[in-house]
Symmetry: C2
Subunit: 359 residues, 2 copies
């Protein structure tokens, strides 16, 4: 593809914090950025050249939006595939394409696809109705997590089952929707690989962060992970294999459980910039948001070289009402411009420089 010229217009489907940070990174490269969001006054709209506030199925608005854009991307994987198709039908290329979305929107399809690329996951079984739960529980070894196939994030739509007696309650708790039951994994830690693939098929990964979750929500990402280089290299190689198999264009995040012996089991992937990569703009030559916009623009990738050891601390709920006086000298604050701090809501993050690179 012909690279977009500086000054071209890039559209983003979705107007939350990821869209906001993508928009700012795109503007730094000289692009005009337009936001399409069903929300009124989305956070990303306040750093963009324009905002379309309309529904995901408003074909007229999508067509008009697409016509104003030279290329379109998205900030989250649950944009309906039909929305993407409407934008493409109106003449704007969408990156990543429908394939990355289709595969990632359904946990069963996703894990099956991962396994087919020789990227092992924990054992999983489809659960299409309440009658499937008990047999699935046996198959995965007696303990597992029931997860809806679609639309879960930040621990939503998930329920543990530790005995057959808990099956019914779990099924109700996830909303009685088609699901998978995933074997419990005794992991030593969780990591993720943020990987980028350009329109020309070039790939690059960042140092894999070690991720800590609290109440199902990411709370901390640390680099370096402290894992052996061989484990990190394997994690990076698998992520690169995945983006090639998906013909993905843009950034993607692949999450892993790391077993005590260093075995990697992929958990899930998000075909977009990811919370566990929020330290990259400060700590690396090229951050994930700039890199994604380079991919969308058909530009070559930037270097992912890491400059220093760092951790990224999520500011969730009331923690987002941060006092500037509480910031340390090595802290870089990013707030998302959300009007209201609700429990569990991601309000911002801090990237903390821990010191010079030690690896």
């Amino acid at each position: 593809m012909t690279p977009l010229r500086p000054g071209a217009t890039i559209g983003i489907l979705g107007g939350g914090q990821l869209g906001r940070m993508l928009a700012s990174a795109g503007a730094q490269l000289g692009f005009d950025v337009l936001i399409y969001s069903p929300e009124e006054d989305p956070p990303a709209g306040r750093v963009a050249a324009g905002v379309w506030s309309a529904a995901w199925d408003d074909t007229e608005a999508l067509t008009e939006f697409a016509k104003a854009c030279d290329a379109v991307t998205l900030e989250f994987e649950n944009v309906p595939v039909r929305t993407v198709e409407a934008v493409e039908a109106a003449g704007a290329p969408v990156r990543p394409g429908a394939r990355s979305l289709t595969v990632s929107q359904d946990r069963y399809t996703e894990k099956t696809f991962l396994n087919a690329q020789d990227i092992p996951t924990a054992r999983f079984e489809p659960v299409d109705g309440p009658g499937d739960v008990i047999s699935a529980l046996k198959a995965v070894g007696g303990t597992g997590v029931l997860k809806t196939r679609r639309e879960g994030y930040d621990g939503k739509g998930q329920a543990w089952i530790r005995s057959p007696e808990e099956a019914e309650a779990a099924w109700r708790r996830i909303g009685e929707a088609p699901a998978i039951l995933e074997a419990a994994v005794g992991f030593q830690c969780e990591i993720s690989v943020i990987v980028a693939r350009s329109a020309n098929g070039e790939t690059a990964t960042w140092a894999p962060p070690r991720n800590t979750h609290k109440d199902g929500i990411l709370s901390l990402s640390q680099v370096p992970s402290g894992l052996p280089k061989a484990v990190e290299d394997e994690a990076r190689a698998k992520a690169q294999r995945l983006v090639q198999a998906l013909d993905h264009v843009g950034v993607l995040a692949l999450e892993y459980f790391v077993l005590p012996d260093g075995t990697l089991l992929a958990n899930e992937f998000a075909p977009r910039v990811h919370n566990s990569g929020h330290w990259t703009p400060e700590a690396c030559q090229t951050g994930q948001f700039e890199q994604h916009m380079r991919c969308v623009a058909g530009w070559p990738l930037g270097s992912t070289y890491r400059l220093f050891d760092a951790e990224m601390i999520n500011l969730i709920g009331e923690a987002g009402l941060v006092s500037p006086a509480s910031l340390g000298p090595y802290d870089t604050l990013t707030l998302y411009g959300k009007r209201e701090a609700r429990p569990g809501r991601k309000m911002g993050h801090i990237t903390r420089r821990l010191g010079p690179r030690k690896d």
Copy 2:
């Protein structure tokens, strides 16, 4: 003053690249940013929450703008003082205040003020009419630069006089406006100090860059400067003295000629973020744009610690039509979103990481 809460609104007078980079930095801190500019579709407007396109003397528009803002700042020092007064009258504090503007808008006042703070400059003489040029030329030693007292930048409004015969042409060339004649200085190099002063009077400086100009326009800034630490420390101390004397709030840049023996002669200052500080967002813990917005918000200063050796290359005129493929692996590109590349127009810049800090 009470620090602004995240989510507050900061207004910027001026919508060029400095306003654009200030707006992005303000948004990262969680502020809503509004732009006021006499230009239609200013570059800063495309990364802000709103734009007022109106004249500097449109009191009604200024009042409305001020009422929408919790604090107001500016991207260039030639905003009319009356404009600032109108915004303040409508209830929004303006940082920096009128004093920094008044002093810096007139070269004679500026240099007199610098000298009064024990910050030496090249010798200068006021030139109020054509009859003053010859006597001024004698007083400064026979060679000098005629500079208009007001509104000059990037080498505009300046003319060299190397003999009495050149006096008349020079006077015409600068537009026959009140001027100063400044003694020629045989300098080894030019440096600048970017300094910030918080609303509480706390100050911080960045490493002074060595600046190279081409056709009167900055083309390159390099850190470290290569000068002895004692010279750099003196330059920093003088800049700190200046912001204290001005009761300045925000970032300010003080430019110096460095004589072969290390003597520092101040050239001029800009009471705002400055082109020679454009490498700070990538190369330092806190960049000049974030720091300025912290000051405007009444927040404490961030650390100005420099992470690596760097140079900043201006992209001027056609050079701004940069091809992404030409970027090196250590280059960070910033483009300003200007629609047209005109000769001498600043279109963007590259911050190049040269390697680990060597000082």
